[in-house]
């Protein structure tokens, strides 16, 4: 592992304006944020606060109209071409004509890995997300939770240092979500990746993150950045602890404050 704490994603005065039919919409206003190697950063806020837009800008799926944004010291576009990150969307987005293993192999095919390495990596990540033995199934033969795990495996397969996740468990029920959150933390501990995670659930953000970024809408901006004092090892029942409740309270206050200035 490279020196812990090296800045990976740096945003300085990032602005992003969408030109829409109703005139310009300021999706991000003056966003400053540094994400370090190995951080688990959650972005939380009501819809329209720009959390997804910011994540997409990191992935070079949107382009800031002002300020500077760097990923590993490069522009997001360069970082994308260097395959610096894996991206997990809200829906699994698996291709129905490919098996689960075929879906996980797809980015590896595109990136030109050898056939042997494709197989080896596919097997490894299938095991990592506990889908061993499901490689030959088609996506539509699996439950929503399993599909989402497969899409995480796909994002992990090419071993990028950064994992960007846009409400990956938003469409799943609470029980499945708890389990996947727990598994995600274990995976993060095992791999030491830097994770950017968009959510609108306060408990999810507090439970997962080392850093919580609270955002508010119109225009989308950061209102609070909370460094979590919780330990790296987090059993599910840490959510009943006092620190947990205090952080959740601060996040809620931050969200409410953002709402007041409208």
């Amino acid at each position: 592992m490279v020196s812990q704490g090296r800045p990976v994603i740096e945003a300085k005065g990032v602005n992003l304006v969408f030109q829409t039919a109703d005139g310009p919409v300021q999706a991000l206003k003056d966003v400053n944020l540094t994400i370090s190697q190995g951080d688990f950063v959650s972005f939380i806020g009501p819809s329209g606060c720009g959390k997804t837009t910011f994540l997409r800008a990191i992935a070079a799926l949107e382009h800031p109209t002002g300020g500077t944004l760097t990923v590993n010291g490069m522009s997001p576009d360069e970082a994308r071409r260097k395959r610096a990150y894996g991206y997990v969307f809200q829906a699994a987005g698996l291709y129905p004509w490919r098996t689960i293993a075929g879906n996980i192999r797809l980015p590896l095919e595109i990136m030109g890995f050898s056939r042997a390495e494709q197989d080896e990596r596919t097997d490894r990540v299938l095991e990592l997300v506990e889908l061993k033995g499901f490689g030959k199934k088609f996506p539509w033969q699996l439950s929503g939770g399993m599909q989402q795990r497969a899409s995480i495996a796909r994002a992990l397969a090419f071993d990028a240092d950064i994992l960007l996740m846009d409400e990956p468990f938003g469409a799943l029920d609470e029980i499945v979500r708890d389990r996947l959150n727990e598994e995600l933390l274990k995976l993060w501990a095992r791999t030491g990746k830097t994770i950017g995670f968009v959510t609108h659930s306060i408990p999810e953000a507090v439970y997962l993150s080392t850093k919580i970024v609270v955002m508010s809408p119109r225009p989308g901006r950061i209102t609070d950045v909370i460094d979590s004092p919780l330990p790296k090892q987090r059993p599910l029942d840490i959510r009943d602890s006092r620190e947990f409740i205090e952080i959740a309270h601060r996040v809620r206050e931050g969200l409410r404050a953002g709402h007041h200035d409208e």
């Binding site: 994308r80 395959r83 829906a91 291709y95 595109i110 539509w140």
Partner: protein, 281 residues
């Protein structure tokens, strides 16, 4: 008259049998499913035979199925020669060239918004031209033999294929395209690994429509000049000589060929788009 009554009795019996079959467990199995339409088809033929014989219908108006079958048996070499000329040399090459050209055009349109605005209306315009106007011109250009028939088929097949492929190439979801972008995929990789597979249900719809158009185009084009064989030539000359049994024999061959062509495309479709909700069982 007894032939008519026999046919009606057969019809009622077959009807009752089919009602029973459709409700029973036999119709759930593979061969059982084929049995019901088969019985229905046979019933139509028997009724047809009975009505023509029972009422003494003139052969020029409607020949009996047995007469048509006898004609097919006797004229097999001629029918085969016509089939080769019209289907194998006219319809199928025209179908392949038209579909292939539509595919290349669709990809070009996809890459360039300028072409999308320019080529689609032109394609639409060509598709709106009546075939009876177009066919004689193409016969003048490409001669009496199969080349001009293939050319007519190309023109008929091109536009429905183009529209379907262009729509199909837009069928992938934004998220799926974003995923390709996050992996740094090239245009060609995105086309081959995402957009073409996603377009397949559309492409096969186009192919099915085009298969019937190809048959019509190849036959009708022969009305405007052809060598002394071919299915369209046969139909137009035999009508002139009141050889309606031969006309019906040719129609039967055309119907069989068309169904086989369509069925083949449907089979391939089932294999290629097995993942699509409409094909999952």
């Amino acid at each position: 008259m007894s032939a008519l009554w026999l046919a009606v009795v057969f019809w009622l019996a077959a009807w009752a049998l089919n009602v029973w079959l459709a409700g029973s467990r036999v119709s759930k199995s593979g061969p059982g499913r084929a049995l019901v339409p088969l019985i229905f088809g046979v019933t139509v033929l028997v009724l047809w035979e009975g009505i023509v014989r029972g009422l003494g219908v003139e052969g020029v108006i409607l020949p009996a199925p047995s007469v048509i079958a006898a004609k097919i048996a006797v004229e097999m070499p001629t029918l085969w020669q016509d089939f080769v000329q019209t289907i194998l040399k006219g319809a199928i090459p025209g179908f392949l060239i038209g579909a292939g050209a539509a595919f290349l055009t669709a990809v070009a349109i996809d890459r360039s918004p300028f072409l999308q605005r320019g080529l689609l209306p032109v394609g639409n315009f060509v598709a709106a031209l009546p075939i009876v106007g177009l066919a004689p011109i193409l016969v003048m250009w490409f001669g009496f033999d199969w080349q001009s028939k293939a050319a007519v088929v190309v023109v008929m097949v091109f536009f429905p294929m183009l529209v379907n492929i262009v729509a199909g190439l837009q069928a992938s979801e934004r998220m799926q395209r974003d995923l390709m972008a996050t992996w740094g995929a090239s245009y060609l990789q995105t086309l081959v690994k995402l957009r073409l597979p996603a377009a397949m249900p559309f492409i096969f719809n186009g192919l099915k429509i085009a298969s019937t158009l190809a048959l019509i185009g190849a036959i009708v084009a022969e009305f405007f000049g052809s060598p002394v064989y071919g299915m369209g030539f046969r139909i137009s000359t035999e009508v002139g000589r009141l050889g309606l049994d031969m006309v019906w024999a040719t129609i039967a061959v055309a119907a069989l060929a068309g169904s086989a062509f369509y069925g083949l495309i449907t089979l391939i479709e089932r294999g290629v788009t097995f993942w699509h909700p409409s094909q999952r069982h």
